[in-house]
Symmetry: C2
DNA sequence: GACAAAAACGAACGATCGTGCTTTTATGGC
DNA sequence: GCCATAAAAGCACGATCGTTCGTTTTTGTC
């Protein structure tokens, strides 16, 4: 296990950076404040990444790995069909509410921040989001094969709609501070599910 | 009509600022670049607003007024019930796609940017969003009274869900650049509508 | 057309940004 | 424990940030 000293601090930096970026965005990430938070010198921290852009990409990478560990992988160990789709949604909710990011989901913040700023960071985020939608769609498709959902249901549409439920939850929970946010999200999810199920 | 010279430039600044902020966010708004864009001096522009925060609030105010003019007011002139709700949605879509903001909906950008930054700007945005959700809920409620929707349907839940549809559209359209984004949004809207209608 | 008020300008401020250098300190294989 | 190498620090740079201040130009009223 080649865990060198540099790698340890690099991971520590990324962990802190994910939390910080969830509050101020990827663009609002600042090498100075990040270094202060970790009691490092600006140049010492900077040396681990060769540019701010490289740091941003690695922050996305780190957050994605955490997301897979705490949402995707556990849910995929659930039985196919409705239980698995439900697990994906429930863990997604939990991630949004109380993940490693005090400022709300980093991906949501990055999505609106980067959606009109071409470049490698945006490209990576785009791919990560497509992958995640793909996971949802695939899980739904398995549910169709199991007979849990209507044969003519569109898995990509379901993934799209489920994303909307999550975004509305994020919006209601964080900006509007609606105490009913979670209940509304679950209600929307159940409606989505019953529409996709046999009538 | 007390349209003084200062007011004219102030409006011009705000118009440009809304477009700029839709791309870089309210925080990314910069007095320097804004002044350059309008061939004004930094201090000359700054004089119209006493602080950047005041500028940000007035930018929100200006965008909200435009939104009311091009989305809310026209839709409210439609017949009560389904036609009005449909008009709200259609004009909302159009606003998101091709409004005065080349960088996507300013409110969506501001929502994720400010959702964890307390202060007057966030407070104002919060209120504007609540107002908008209120307009949707009220329109839906009128639809219930008209008999277009089920009596036991929850207008606030409908508004919440519709917001999710719009957010998912924004995400698919702008970040993912999904050519089917608009079709998916309409599909989701129709599903929402038919769930709310008598079966 | 004079003249007070409003608007725009120009220059400067302290701070912070990302990034490049050089130097000092810590690490880890032999 | 030596020593090449990696990690961290220190310092400085040009740029840009929001904001202030004093001056100049423009506006609108009598």
């Amino acid at each position: 296990m080649p865990t060198t000293k540099g790698e340890v601090t690099r991971q520590a930096v990324l962990e802190r950076a994910v939390a910080l970026a969830s509050r101020v965005g990827l663009g609002g990430l600042t090498i100075g404040t990040l270094a202060d938070d970790l009691d490092l010198s600006k140049s010492g921290l900077f040396g681990h990444f060769r540019s701010k852009e490289a740091l941003q990409i690695q922050v996305l990478e780190h957050a994605a790995a955490t997301f897979v560990d705490s949402v995707v992988r556990p849910a995929l160990s659930q039985p196919r069909g409705v239980p698995r789709v439900r697990a994906l949604f429930e863990r997604w909710l939990e991630w949004t509410r109380s993940g490693p990011m005090p400022g709300g989901c980093l991906f949501v913040a990055a999505a609106t921040e980067l959606d009109d700023r071409p470049g490698p960071v945006r490209d990576r985020l785009q791919q990560l989001q497509r992958d995640w939608l793909g996971v949802i769609a695939t899980s739904f498709r398995k549910g169709v094969e199991e007979g849990h959902f209507r044969r003519d249901a569109d898995p990509d549409q379901f993934a799209h709609d489920l994303y909307g439920v999550a975004l509305a939850y994020h919006h209601a929970q964080r900006l509007l501070q609606d105490p009913k946010a979670e209940g509304r999200a679950r209600h929307a999810f159940e409606a989505l599910l019953s529409t996709a199920q046999r009538h």
